[in-house]
């Protein structure tokens, strides 16, 4: 089993980076590898516990029909898929007033570097 560490910086619902990163995580877990994600800056909102699905009025869809994807649903599913760890940058969390899901832990850049040293490879996806 190899270990992939990913750093994400984009907030949810802003760029394609989030979807791509979660797909990479999903693919690695499906192949039996371990995935670690460090959420920096706006990415701490990916695991924001207050996320709610909403209807899509222009398509006359209620909440159930729209089945709007939230990032916590995707991430919690990844946790069930295989060995995954998730750290949200604590200072970034405080700045944004974010409460996150229990699967995610609070940490800092030092934790990320400890992961880096212990990983097969690392992918940093910054905000452009």
């Amino acid at each position: 089993m190899k270990t992939l560490t990913i750093l994400l910086m984009d907030p949810p619902y802003e760029t394609e980076n989030t979807t791509t990163a979660l797909r990479i995580a999903d693919a690695a877990l499906r192949k039996g590898h371990k995935v670690r994600v460090f959420a920096y800056e706006g990415a701490v909102s990916l695991t924001m516990s207050q996320q709610k699905q909403h209807p899509n009025p222009v398509k006359n869809q209620d909440v159930a029909q729209a089945d709007h994807p939230t990032t916590i649903r995707a991430i919690q599913s990844l946790f069930k898929k295989g060995p995954m760890e998730w750290i949200a940058c604590g200072m970034c969390v405080d700045e944004r007033g974010v409460d996150f899901i229990p699967e995610a832990k609070r940490g800092g850049p030092k934790d990320f570097y400890e992961w880096v040293k212990d990983s097969t490879n690392t992918l940093v996806i910054g905000t452009q």
């Binding site: 750093l7 910086m9 920096y40 800056e41 800092g108 850049p109 030092k110 990320f112 570097y113 400890e114 880096v116 040293k117 212990d118 990983s119 097969t120 490879n121 690392t122 940093v124 910054g126 905000t127 452009q128």
Partner: protein
């Protein structure tokens, strides 16, 4: 990857949230992992080459009656990072494109040509391209 593996942190997106963060968040992160023991250097390319221009001053931000202190001081931060053995590489052509004279930039930085970037990357074990 081990504790001796060298990392190059490549910053390209300039002034992202620097006022509200009081830092450039990429440089701050890089500096923090350096303090955690990482052998790490920085490459400034694109608009971030403006970070090495001397004499930048951004204090005085006020909303209503609230004034924000401790403004970002990236010039000072880079000088402190260099004291901690972080090399700061700057792409020469990106300075020229923006009309920045090399005589106006911080001492101690390393100017490289864009043609040398690939060779620079080869000197590192990991590239963190933010």
């Amino acid at each position: 990857m081990n504790a001796n593996s060298k990392i190059l942190s490549v910053a390209e997106r300039a002034y992202r949230a620097t006022v509200e963060e009081q830092d450039d968040t990429v440089l701050w992160f890089t500096w923090t992992v350096r303090k955690a023991g990482a052998p790490i250097d920085v490459l400034l390319r694109g608009n971030t080459v403006n970070y090495v221009v001397k004499g930048q001053e951004v204090s005085g931000l006020t909303f209503g009656e609230v004034s924000f202190g401790n403004p970002p001081a990236i010039e000072h931060d880079l000088q402190e990072m260099m004291k901690e053995s972080i090399k700061i590489y700057v792409v020469r052509e990106d300075l020229e494109t923006r009309g920045i004279n090399p005589s106006d930039i911080l001492n101690g930085t390393h100017l490289i040509s864009s043609k040398e970037i690939a060779g620079l990357y080869d000197q590192y074990d990991q590239i963190w391209h933010w």
